[in-house]
C-alpha cells in the first residue's frame, strides 16, 4: 500500500484506467511454510508472482570453517547438524569420504548396519518431507500420522546409539554402537505396521485426494534440462523423469546386492516433473526403503557379528591428497570435497548439499505462479535450511 496522496495515485493510473502496481511481499524469514529461516522476496501482481528472489544464510554456522579446526572424528557431530532431519546420511557421507581417502574397508556387517540405518533414516526423513508438504497444502492429519511413525524410527535409533536426532553414529571406519539385542525383531514389527497401515492410509488419505492432486499436479514443472543444469539430485531429479540413483549407478556400502527399484516421477496427473511427481517419488521411495531394510535385516540375521570398532583408527590421519565422494542422502546427492594435508585436521571440507542446488532453481520455477503455489513449490523441493546454509 503506497502512502501517496489520492491525487498522486490517480496520476499514476496507467492508460487502461487500472492501477496495476506490483507489490513486494516479503515472505519469511519467519513464516509458517518456509521450512526454517528462508526469506523470499516476491514481486506480486495480485496473487501472481512475477519474480522471486530467495535470500539464504540466516542459519549459516560456518561448518566448513569449523571442520578445518577440529579433527576428523570431531567433524562428524558438526556434519550431523547440517541436515538435521536426516543426520545419518550426513555422517555416512563424511565417513565414506574419509574412508576413501584413508583406504579403509569396513566389514560386511558394518556395511549392512550402515545401509539399515541409512534406509531407516530415509523413511524418517521422507515422512517429515511428505508430512510437512501436506501441511503446507493445508491438511494436518497426515503430518501427525507420519510423525507418529517417524517417532518409532527415532526410538529405534535412540535405542541403538542413544540419541534421537543427531546421532554421531557413522564413524570413520565403523559405527559407534553395535545393534542392541532384539533390534531386528523390533524393526520388523515397525516395518510391518508401516507397510500395512501407515503407507496405504497415507495414499488414501492424502496422496490420491483430488484436492491435493489438483493443487500440485501441474505446478512447478521442472523440465529435464533445467533440472540437470541446476544440479537437482535425488527425488527432485527423479521427479523430472531421470532414473538416476547413486545407489544403483555407483553403489557404495554394498548397495549393489540389494534388490530395489529406482522410483521415478510418472506424471500420472499432469506433466512430468511437477510438484506432484517430486512428492510422489518421496512417497514411493519410502516403500522401496522399507524393502531394503527388510533385506538388510535378513542379512543381519545370517551375518557373523564383528566388532563395529574393528577398523576405527586410533588417530584418523589420512595421507596427503584430495577426494570428492558422493552418497545418496535422503534429499539427494550429498558430496564432500575433502582436501587433506596429512594432518589430523582436514585442510578443506566443502559440502555440496542437495538442498543448496535445489534452492538455486527456485526462482526459475516460481515465475508466474500464484502465492499458494510458491508454498507448494518450496515444500516439493524439500529443503532443509540447515543444509543450505551449513
Amino acid at each position: 500500500m503506497s502512502a501517496a496522496s489520492p491525487a498522486a495515485r490517480i496520476a499514476d493510473w496507467d492508460q487502461d484506467g487500472l492501477d496495476t502496481d506490483e507489490m513486494v511481499v516479503n515472505m519469511g524469514p519467519q513464516h509458517p511454510a518456509t521450512h526454517g529461516v528462508l526469506r523470499l522476496e516476491l514481486r506480486t501482481d495480485g496473487e501472481i508472482v512475477r519474480a522471486a528472489r530467495p535470500h539464504i544464510g540466516y542459519l549459516h554456522r560456518c561448518f566448513e570453517k569449523h571442520a578445518e579446526n577440529v579433527d576428523y572424528p570431531g567433524v562428524l557431530p558438526y556434519a550431523d547438524r547440517m541436515d538435521y532431519v536426516a543426520a545419518m546420511g550426513n555422517t555416512l557421507g563424511f565417513a565414506l569420504t574419509v574412508e576413501k581417502l584413508c583406504g579403509i574397508e569396513v566389514s560386511p556387517y558394518v556395511q549392512t548396519i550402515r545401509v539399515l540405518m541409512a534406509e531407516l533414516q530415509r523413511i524418517a526423513s521422507h515422512a517429515v518431507a511428505v508430512g510437512t508438504y501436506t501441511m503446507d497444502i493445508g491438511a494436518f492429519t497426515p503430518f501427525l500420522h507420519l510423525l507418529r511413525d517417524r517417532e518409532k524410527i527415532l526410538d529405534l535409533f535412540e535405542w541403538t546409539c542413544g540419541a534421537r536426532l543427531l546421532y554421531n553414529y557413522n564413524w570413520v571406519g565403523g559405527v559407534s554402537h553395535d545393534l542392541a539385542e532384539g533390534f531386528v525383531r523390533a524393526t520388523r514389527d515397525f516395518l510391518r505396521e508401516f507397510d500395512s497401515v501407515t503407507f496405504p492410509e497415507l495414499l488414501d488419505l492424502i496422496i490420491h485426494n483430488r484436492i491435493f492432486v489438483k493443487r500440485i499436479a501441474d505446478v512447478g514443472v521442472c523440465p529435464l534440462e533445467l533440472a540437470i543444469s541446476h544440479d537437482l539430485t535425488g527425488p527432485n531429479l527423479r521427479g523430472s523423469g531421470v532414473a538416476r540413483d547413486l545407489r544403483k549407478d555407483f553403489p557404495y556400502s554394498g548397495y549393489e546386492s540389494y534388490a530395489f527399484d529406482v522410483c521415478v516421477g510418472q506424471g500420472q496427473y499432469g506433466p512430468k516433473g511437477s510438484c506432484f511427481d517430486r512428492n510422489w517419488v518421496r512417497v514411493a521411495e519410502m516403500r522401496e526403503s522399507s524393502k531394503i531394510v527388510h533385506q538388510a535385516l535378513d542379512r543381519l540375521e545370517k551375518l557373523e557379528k564383528t566388532d563395529v570398532h574393528e577398523k576405527v583408527p586410533k588417530r584418523v590421519k589420512p595421507p596427503k591428497g584430495e577426494v570428492y565422494c558422493r552418497s545418496e542422502a535422503p534429499r539427494g546427492q550429498l558430496g564432500y570435497y575433502l582436501v587433506s594435508d596429512g594432518n589430523v585436521n582436514p585442510y578443506r571440507v566443502k559440502v555440496k548439499s542437495p538442498c543448496f542446488t535445489a534452492m538455486s532453481v527456485f526462482h526459475h520455477l516460481a515465475k508466474g505462479m500464484m502465492i499458494a503455489d510458491v508454498i507448494a513449490l518450496i515444500g516439493s523441493l524439500d529443503i532443509v535450511l540447515g543444509e543450505i546454509d551449513r
Binding site: P73, H145, G162, L166, I206, H208, I211
Partner: protein, 179 residues
C-alpha cells in the same frame, strides 16, 4: 463433459475415502503421553547429561582433546611426592591432582566422543534429561571436589572378582556435583 463429470465424482469420492480414514482414527488409541506426569523410560544408552566420577579421573586430558566444541576444561598439577598414593577404580595409579574439571553443558553437543578415550571409564553420558534452568551459568558443572574419597590401595591387589572394571555403569547417580 465426461472429464468434468469424472473430476466432480472423483473429487467427491476421494473426499469420502479420506473421511473414512479419519473416522477410523477417531476411535484408535492415542499414541502420545502426558509428558510430565507420564514419562517414557529412556534406554540406558541415551546420551543426555555428562557425568564424571571425580574419584576415578587420572587427569590424562584425552576427553578435552576429543571434544569438538571444547566444553571440557581441565587443570591438573603434579601430585606431591610425599602424598599418599591413590588409585582409580580400574587400577590406574592417579599421578595428577585434578584441581579443575568443568563441563559446560550449555556448550556440549552430546556427541559422546569424550567418553570413548577415557582410560578409566570415569566420564559417561547419563539418561537424565530434565535439566533446563533459567540461568545459563547453572549448566556449568564443576566436578572437582575438595573432599573426594579416593581409593587408598591398589584395587588390582584385592580379590580377583573386583578386578573387572565397571565398563558402562548402569543408572549412575544422576545428580551433578557442582553447578
Amino acid at each position: 463433459m465426461t472429464q468434468w463429470l469424472k473430476d466432480v465424482w472423483f473429487g467427491f469420492f476421494t473426499v469420502l475415502v479420506g473421511m473414512r480414514i479419519t473416522w477410523r482414527h477417531l476411535f484408535t488409541r492415542s499414541v502420545t503421553l502426558q509428558y510430565p506426569s507420564v514419562k517414557w523410560p529412556l534406554p540406558p544408552k541415551s546420551r543426555m547429561r555428562l557425568f564424571m566420577n571425580y574419584e576415578d579421573c587420572i587427569g590424562c586430558g584425552q576427553c578435552v582433546r576429543a571434544c569438538p566444541v571444547a566444553c571440557i576444561s581441565l587443570k591438573t598439577e603434579k601430585r606431591p611426592a610425599d602424598a599418599p598414593p591413590i588409585w582409580a577404580a580400574s587400577g590406574q595409579a592417579i599421578k595428577l591432582d585434578v584441581s579443575v574439571f568443568d563441563i559446560d553443558m550449555s556448550l556440549c553437543c552430546y556427541c559422546n566422543l569424550c567418553t570413548y578415550p577415557c582410560p578409566t571409564f570415569c566420564l559417561y553420558m547419563t539418561p537424565d534429561y530434565e535439566f533446563a534452568t533459567g540461568n545459563l551459568t547453572e549448566h556449568l558443572y564443576r566436578f572437582a571436589k575438595k573432599d573426594a574419597q579416593f581409593l587408598m590401595e591398589d584395587p588390582k591387589k584385592r580379590a580377583a572378582p573386583a578386578e573387572a572394571p565397571p565398563v558402562a555403569p548402569q543408572n549412575p547417580p544422576a545428580s551433578p556435583a557442582g553447578a
